[in-house]
């Protein structure tokens, strides 16, 4: 190779090497999910020598009578509920704040942005106590209902900024044609905010899917467990001795995220670049 092309190839080599090291734990998890437990703890290679798909069957059956099918279904229901809640509530809130002229608008918008800075830890205990009083503990309600009330200030803000960027003339033209605020929102603005809605939906899904803390607190009976809590219980019940099935279920837990990554990677990266929030 001539020195020039070598110089051009070097960064690629460095990048690829870094990626191999970086993604190795994920590859190891995937490979280990097909290995017998004894092989996992004795071999560095991620390719299984004794291909063991039975890990998935054994893991899927779960522990103490509750299988991962239950956890998977619970996780899906909560994540889908949260996505619908955030998309609906954040978009109508953002529309009202960005495009309608009403008394108290400045104050309302300032409060909405101010709640961005409110750390969830300080609300954790009182929220728990309130949901406890309502009899909602050990149901999906504390995890889904707040999403319908636009309390994720981040997504309100994201949609607000997006709506502010759309030309005013749209609303004016719609009003001249006799559209009220609701129809203007539904027919004119909502279709144009699809990118912001998609970002809201994808990140709400990922964050809810990965959320461990609140699901641990609110869900107490195995029939209610989601994947993160179920995985933790599986770890405790087997005290880490059933590594094969555990890696299989870890893979199952991450599978929807891989699918999202494959289909929406551009969107994910752009969402972060434009809004600056963490993934």
């Amino acid at each position: 190779m001539r020195p020039k092309s070598l110089r051009a190839a070097l960064p690629h080599a460095v990048i690829l090497l870094l990626l191999v090291v970086l993604l190795y734990p994920v590859a190891w998890m995937l490979g280990s999910s097909f290995k017998p437990t004894s092989e996992i703890i004795s071999s560095l290679s991620f390719l299984p020598r004794h291909f063991t798909p039975g890990n998935y069957r054994q893991g899927w059956a779960g522990t103490a009578g509750t299988g991962f099918s239950v956890y998977f279904l619970n996780s899906t229901l909560i994540a889908v509920g949260a996505v619908i809640g955030n998309v609906v509530s954040c978009s109508i809130t953002a529309y009202a704040m960005a495009r309608l002229d009403f008394r108290g608008r400045g104050l309302v918008t300032a409060i909405a942005i101010g709640t961005l800075l409110l750390p969830k830890e300080v609300l954790l205990i009182p929220q728990y106590l309130i949901f406890h009083k309502l009899g909602w503990v050990d149901t999906d309600l504390p995890l889904v209902v707040p999403k319908f009330l636009a309390v994720d200030a981040f997504f309100v803000f994201l949609n607000l900024q997006f709506m502010r960027g759309l030309p005013r003339e749209l609303d004016e033209a719609a009003a001249l044609d006799g559209c009220g605020p609701f129809r203007t929102f539904w027919h004119i603005l909502l279709p144009l905010t699809k990118p912001a809605l998609a970002t809201t939906a994808i990140f709400t899904f990922i964050w809810t899917w990965n959320d461990y803390f609140s699901q641990l607190i609110y869900l107490n009976s195995p029939a209610r467990y989601t994947l993160p809590v179920g995985l933790r219980m599986f770890l405790d019940a087997t005290s880490g001795s059933d590594l094969g099935p555990m890696f299989a279920m870890a893979t199952v837990t991450l599978a929807p995220l891989f699918v999202l990554f494959v289909f929406f990677q551009r969107h994910l990266v752009q969402g972060i670049a434009t809004t600056g929030f963490k993934g």
């Binding site: 280990s32 703890i41 109508i92 300080v122 106590l129 803390f213 993160p228 555990m246």
Partner: protein
């Protein structure tokens, strides 16, 4: 709603003079439709947000402040104890002081190291070359997966006695130990997990790097400045607002870390309380010991701490953040 206050006649930038709200429907009798008021429609659309902000944010915020001055075990009603919870935190709870120390160590190591990693990779990817989009996405992948319980479990396995990390060390003849059960190393395993998720700040750095005018580099190159000189005199100062942003976000995030402490450690803060992160201790006090008042006080101290750190960062930024002229 019919009586419009004087406040509504305040000039709004770019939107003309808002007219004092007319009838209940708020429609202007004539003229430009942009001036019409839509109080009814607006508050209808805002009703979920209002309910949420009052019911899920404001009331809990006040309730939490009240609880922090009480003793409450869920069984009997909360009773007022004044500042006792706060006094106990600072004078009579060595585990609390320890958890604060563990968390601070984690925050001041993990956030800068993660940003260093993010910046290094961003610089590597900044120059347009084939495969840039795919590389960027793959480097971002750990950020997407990293907060999952599944990854925490895999991470623990990776640094076990027989895990792949030690297998890797063996290639160089180093005999590794069980890092996760050693109280002096487990913290670094968790720091490594945080560093692994450098994708989000990396993407933000990349966006920042793109904003730096290329002419600056060309001029510097003509003046004979080498790579390091250009890095320290152009890249770093031009990127400093982005660095500040990332630092604030990452430090606040590190303060709130819970999953890695609960899953890479033994779940109770061990071995020997080396993973007793602030949020983990708060969780134990609230949900394992049912000391809601005490835990609420912990939360308020945490908020104060977060506020203080953010304020310090912004104060220090006067000396190192360059906002262009």
């Amino acid at each position: 709603m019919a009586a419009a206050a004087a406040g509504s006649t305040v000039e709004r930038p770019g939107r003309g003079r808002a007219r004092p709200g007319g009838g209940a429907a708020g429609t202007a009798p004539s003229g430009s439709p942009r001036r019409r008021r839509t109080n009814g429609a607006a508050y209808t659309l805002l009703s979920p947000w209002l309910l949420g902000t009052v019911g899920v944010l404001a009331i809990p915020l006040l309730y939490s402040l009240y609880l922090s001055f009480t003793s409450y075990d869920l069984l009997s009603n909360p009773h007022w104890v004044g500042f006792r919870n706060y006094r106990r935190l600072f004078s009579d709870d060595p585990r609390y002081a320890h958890s604060m120390w563990v968390t601070l160590q984690y925050v001041i190591t993990s956030a800068p190291l993660k940003l260093l990693m993010a910046l290094a990779v961003a610089l590597l990817l900044a120059r347009p070359r084939r495969g840039q989009g795919a590389y960027r996405a793959l480097f971002y992948l750990p950020s997407l997966l990293g907060t999952s319980v599944a990854i925490a479990i895999v991470w623990q396995g990776t640094f076990e006695q027989n895990g792949p990390f030690n297998g890797f060390l063996k290639l160089f003849g180093v005999h590794g130990q069980a890092w996760v059960s050693d109280p002096s190393y487990v913290r670094w395993v968790i720091v490594a997990l945080a560093m692994w998720q450098f994708g989000a700040p990396m993407v933000i750095f990349l966006a920042g790097l793109k904003q730096i005018p290329q002419e600056l580099y060309e001029a510097a190159e003509m003046d004979g400045a080498g790579w390091w000189r250009r890095f320290f005199s152009i890249t770093l100062p031009m990127l400093s607002p982005v660095i500040l942003f990332n630092l604030v976000v990452e430090m606040i995030g590190a303060f709130q870390a819970f999953t890695p402490a609960q899953l890479v450690g033994d779940g109770q803060g061990g071995p020997v309380d080396s993973t007793l992160f602030y949020t983990l201790y708060l969780y134990q006090r609230a949900f394992q010991m049912q000391q809601m008042g005490y835990a609420a006080a912990m939360a308020w101290v945490m908020i104060a701490g977060l506020g203080l750190i953010t304020a310090l960062l912004f104060w220090s930024s006067r000396y190192w953040v360059h906002y262009g002229d």
